[in-house]
Amino acid sequence: MTKPAQDAAPRVARRGLLQTLEIDTRLLGMIGAFLVICIAFQGWTGIRAMAEFTLNPFAWLANGRFLIPQNVFNITIQMVSVAIMATGMVFVIVTRNIDLSVGAMLCLCSALMGILQVTILPKTLGLGIGHPAIAPLAMLAGLALGTAVGAFTGWLVGYQGIPAFIVTLGGLLIWRNLGWYMTSGQTQGPLDSTFILFGGAEGTLGPIWSWVVGLIASALAVLGLMQARKAKERHGFPVKPLWAEGVLAGIACAAILGLIALLNAYEIPAGKLKRLFEARGEAMPDGYTTGFGLPFSVLILALVAIAMTVVAKRTRFGRYIFATGGNPDAAELSGINTRLLTVKVFALMGFLCGLSAIIAQARLQNHTNDIGTLDELRVIAAAVIGGTALAGGIGTIHGAILGALIMQSLQSGMAMVGVDSPFQNIVVGIVLALAVWIDIQYRKRKGIR
């Protein structure tokens, strides 16, 4: 077994900056990759924007169009629905399953919410267009349908023993076309005006409330770090030096507040602002400007991320998900009902598809039958780029969200610099394979598995 004296000494000596900060090197690598993508597209768009070419990289960056507030705003609202589903996909993949039907489930939920808003609630049930109950009722129905479809999938996988790949491949074919029948293939719109607020640009907190949310989030981040430290101290475990905690807290707060600042800096176009004032029956003061701020949809993603992280790390349910993925037999022998767990995991995935359906539909401002097409691949790719191992047992929520962000940034950046869309897909495919390859190399080096 271990030889304590020889074991402990060199480790203390070798503690570098990263070990002291206790940052996951894998996470750091992903953040690094993301920053490289940002800088590359910033420079590339800068070169294209300048009237004549110079050899000064700073000029490229200064003229870039990728990191301007408008584009940051667009990327964040475009990634939300995939990112939300990717957090659920982490649990599905960690339990050694897969869900190929998420895009189709999103479409089915969207179809139901579409006809509820456009026909059933206002006309058939006679609530009338614009009734305040329409949006909440439609949303509840969409979330319930998603959860039910997911639970049914989970039951087929967990209790009937059909491989998830097959069940969800069937779902991929079934759910979207069920949605087609529900709507007779027709586009559903216009949507309820409250519902549309959850899409992104139509519903934002505005600069002041965005700052408030940002400050609360920063305070919570600092509080969370402090609590974790206290729990360790209570049991006499070693803790990081205080300066290291301070650096971490500083980085977290800077990231949160920096994003808020960028979102606030994107100004609402004057025409749109004028319409907003007119809708309230007021006149817009001359020269008035204001920023969009944090969209509701992004706030929802943030809340989902926090909730799913707590579930993964601090609840029994989450612990059992990881245990089952690591060794299903051991989990079963420890008294975990792995079949029921499978049902719960897929039901949660379905719920998140319903939530994503709300946001995707509201963003597009109607339901069309091709909503969410190929989302299953984007969602799986986001989870996998984010470090979720298809063999099961390993994956993080923040990784999956970062994965979704990286994919969306790539796609947006390539569109901006005019890469043809077939080539865009080629690049995304290469990035996916590359990410997994790097991951395998990294795990080999670290001797994990």
Binding site: M1, T2, K3, P4, D7, A8, A231, K232, R234, H235, G236, F237, V310, R314, T315, R316, R319, Y320, F322, A323, T324, G325, G326, N327, D329, A330, A331, E332, L333, S334, G335, I336, G393, I394, G447, I448, R449
Partner: protein, 258 residues
């Protein structure tokens, strides 16, 4: 044989009567009856594939017997799954160890029985503290509390599995080759642990191939061959050659066969 002989007058702690279980035509366990008294160590012996692990898995809830009954302290019970077994204070160290490789020692030790905070969230620090305590007793050299158990040596993994079985105040302990991966020093510590638990009145089923350990630790030995019970003997009354004869020949020695 070690320590005080247990009192076998009252009701046994466990009685497994006429247990049979087959896998697709193969009778893995064929009408086997064994029993276990408080403070007793009963060895289960037999060559590879004799059916020892399968028999005890009926008691631990991993399998359900096709026929036969199980009595705990004289009461017939139904053990349908591992949760039922835990509810009867039956703890098991499986031959395969049954650890989730991706989780650390504390998460494995408390798997299915996590300590939670007042808000119902799992309390990792408390679990790690408890794990440090019990590992300090079982294997003081154990240091890898943060690593997933896949990063542990075979013996370290085994000590995690042993810690999990003894932490929760079992009444009935099933140990399926608990020392298979352990070095001589650690094996000695497990032997001492078994004697300590026995003195506390636990009943222990010990599956063990090393005949010297059997002679040293067990009060009785039940020998199986091809799914059937060859016989049960008091370890006091036999030599190791007698037991080896039972394992190899599949019949009780002449001087014991009544």
């Amino acid at each position: 044989m070690a320590g005080i002989a247990p009192n076998r007058e009252g009701t046994p702690l466990v009685e497994m009567r006429d247990i049979s279980i087959s896998f697709g035509g193969i009778k893995a366990v064929d009408h086997v009856s064994v029993d276990l008294y408080p403070g007793e160590v009963v060895g289960l012996l037999g060559h590879n594939g004799a059916g020892k692990s399968t028999l005890i898995k009926c008691l631990s809830g991993a399998y359900q017997a096709d026929a036969g009954e199980i009595l705990i302290e004289g009461q017939p019970v139904q053990i349908r799954n591992p949760r039922d077994a835990r509810a009867y204070n039956i703890e098991t160290i499986y031959q395969t160890l049954a650890l989730a490789d991706n989780l650390d020692a504390a998460s494995n030790l408390f798997l299915g029985r996590e300590l939670v905070t007042a808000t119902g969230l799992v309390d990792d620090s408390a679990m790690e503290a408890e794990t440090r305590k019990i590992m300090g007793r079982l294997n003081p050299n154990f240091r890898k509390f943060k690593e997933p158990v896949s990063a542990l040596s075979g013996g370290q993994r085994q000590s995690v599995a042993i810690a999990r079985a003894v932490y929760f105040n079992a009444k009935i302990l099933i140990m399926d080759e608990p020392t298979a991966a352990l070095g001589p020093h650690e094996t000695q510590m497990v032997a001492e642990l078994i004697q300590e638990l026995k003195a506390q009145g636990l009943g222990i089923f010990l599956i063990e191939h090393d005949i010297h350990n059997v002679m040293k630790l067990c009060d009785r030995a039940s020998v199986m061959k091809n799914g059937q019970l060859v016989g049960t003997v008091n370890v006091d009354e036999v030599t190791d050659d007698d037991i080896l004869g039972m394992i190899i020949l599949g019949k009780k020695p002449a001087h014991l066969a009544a």
